[in-house]
Symmetry: C2
Subunit: 410 residues, 2 copies
């Protein structure tokens, strides 16, 4: 059975054909959710689905499910997919790969005349990127009940257009109630969007979990003063205190390997003038880890450090949590199906946690779920220069094929 | 002779009357160089000078000298003054105090019928602040030959108006060649513009020297990447390297007490997004000290640290010097005259170096010079809330009186 392989060329050609819709001059794709281009992309992929004999249904948030019958129509389907909307300066692979890899699995099963016990479905989730309409992962979020259909409908783009009317306009406002669609298991193939596989020279990333994140806004208040006349010991330099916290954020992450992450990405200094001692510094803190317990410990270390630094320096420091997403473990059945398929196929592999958001995270709230990562060039995504090797994309689709077969067989 | 005192009330009233010209709602003064308000200020002070029997001359850059004859008209005058232009949101004392303290000295000598051996002069230097026309300290700079009259004339304000035509317009384009005006000694009384005297609860600051400064632009180049998917050990976080330099700047200053200063006032992080590891950070470095030798050592320590950090981190770091002003020692005769007068008058005092620029620094290039500091509230200047106590201003003027008498007597 491991001799069954997807057609890598067909997958690559489909990826390149879909990438023509919204193609940018720099080789990327701009295909924002619920635009005319999104419609064209959906039309193309569903036409491919129908050609492959799939039944297409659409729900009220525009999620598309394309179904291949199984022997046992009472079993919930094994679903795989992703999204085809992109960032404004997005790439050809983010999302699109997950949808077309699932379609390639169906085509391969068709060619080989293989009937599965459970049905197989290809899913296209609406507005994963959140570039035009917030919240992100909108389709899968409504599907799993993370927020309401009404909440999603009320989202507006910068021109004031609403999700419901745009769904109607592009012809993808379906009848099915979101979530009223059983899923037996959900798998998603995706480019890694990070540098780990490339760095380790591995082809397949088995994704056991998604990092949780804790976001803070931090403000250090000092005393603005002239750089020349103010001696060092009479200063209240907000930047000198802030930089110690910025370094501690990274130290904390380093104390919680291998999945601890600590980032200060945003910094604002006031008044931000060469010869004035900073009177105030605002900056962001981004802490991540793979378990809620570890993330909580990292949060606690940050707070303790800040308390002690504020006492030591005499400068007020405020720390406000602005976002929290809990970590998500993928289902052992799915993770093991992926690991088993990878090993049987002989691909080099490693476990890679996901640091970014994916539809699979929401899908995991309503069904066993798992993800397959393949390397992307320099770990770059959300960028027109996003790139991936055909052989890696082929390998990922082969792992998806055999994982789905395993799950559809049970 | 120490019983001779200036009239503190008269000095305060003159300060408050001059402060009405360009008064702001918040209690400050906006009297930019070579504007109609500057003309009104010049007219008022020169009218006071003439009432005090002074001969008024103006040079080609608009510097005003008001002369009180001495017994020996062949001796070069003992000059004291400052400027009466202000910052856009300036205070009542910066500059104005130095001019009116010198005028108060003349008035006091007149009242007491004291004739000095050398003539006494009150100087008003053109455009010290540099807010409307660059370079700063323009009048004293041209006077001492730091830059040419032509260079100053070509400076334009944001409306394109030029220095020469504005001088003409306000009626202060004089005939005298700048610098063609001998000075026997130059003293300047000024608010400290720093917190040292207030912190030490001293009334008089004897200023032995002005700090030199070395300004740099520093850039750290890393690799922009997503905060979630990128493990700590695969990061090239420009901010983490930059913050180590920011802290070292302060450490260096702390290793060169008591006059070492180290400040990072300006910081820019790219792309400055919460969930993106900074790919580049640009920031300013401001190092100061009282001797060229110490400043050179501080510069060398910074360069050495950056070289070693760049090797250690593997991140390129560029450091470009953008400004250098050498330290300036005031003349022992002037410093000792000020110290002697302060002690004779019984005021509490300490040595305070000047961290900011003053006309006295340029005057020191052509004559023995010295400065007298008095405390200002919270060390704040260049601000509408700039404030100083009448008793401190009176004390500073008394020190100026007796220092000038000492220098005019020799």
């Amino acid at each position: 059975m491991e001799s069954l392989k997807i057609d890598g060329d067909r997958l690559w050609k489909s990826l390149m054909e879909l990438a023509r819709i919204g193609a940018t001059e720099k080789g990327g794709v701009k295909r924002l959710a619920l635009t005319e281009l999104d419609k064209q992309g959906r039309d193309l992929v569903t036409s491919w689905g129908r050609q492959a004999g799939l039944d297409v249904t659409v729900d009220q948030i525009g999620n598309i499910f394309m179904r291949r019958k199984g022997r046992n129509s009472l079993r919930p389907p094994v679903v795989s997919g992703s999204h085809i909307d992109t960032q404004p300066t997005g790439g050809k692979f983010d999302g699109n790969y997950g949808v077309l890899a699932a379609l390639e699995v169906v085509r391969t099963l068709n060619d080989a005349g293989i009937e599965t016990d459970a049905p197989i479905e290809v899913a296209i989730w609406t507005n994963e990127e959140g570039s035009r309409f917030v919240p992100v992962m909108m389709g899968s979020g409504v599907f799993c009940g993370a927020f309401s259909l009404q909440h999603a409908y009320e989202a507006t783009d910068i021109e004031g257009k609403r999700v419901r009317s745009e769904l109607e306009y592009i012809g993808y406002l379906g009848d099915q109630t979101p979530g009223d669609h059983p899923i037996g298991a959900y798998l998603e193939a995706h480019i890694e969007q990070g540098p780990v596989l490339e760095d380790a020279e591995k082809v397949i990333g088995v994704v056991p979990a998604v990092l949780g994140l804790s976001w803070y806004d931090c403000e250090v208040s000092g005393m603005e003063a002239h750089a020349g006349p103010t001696p060092m010991k009479l200063r209240k330099d907000a930047l000198q205190v802030a930089t110690r916290i910025m370094q501690e954020v990274v130290e904390i992450a380093n104390r919680y390997p291998p999945y601890g992450r600590g980032t200060v990405g945003f910094v604002q200094t006031f008044p931000n003038s060469r010869n004035v001692i900073p009177g105030r510094v605002n900056f962001s803190v981004d802490l991540r880890n793979v378990s809620a317990d570890l993330l909580k410990k990292m949060d606690a270390e940050l707070m303790k450090f800040i308390d002690s630094l504020s006492s030591e320096s005499g400068l007020p420091i405020s720390l406000k949590q602005v976002s929290y997403y809990p970590p998500c473990d993928f289902h052992p059945d799915c993770v093991e199906a992926i690991r088993g398929a990878t090993n049987a196929l002989g691909y080099s592999s490693m476990d890679v946690v996901s640091g970014a958001g994916h539809d699979a995270i929401y899908a995991a709230r309503v069904a066993p779920a798992g993800m397959i990562f393949v390397p992307c060039k320099d770990g770059i995504s959300h960028n027109e220069i996003e790139d991936a090797q055909p052989s890696h994309l082929e390998a990922g689709a082969n792992v998806l094929l055999h994982s789905m077969l395993e799950l559809a067989r049970r």
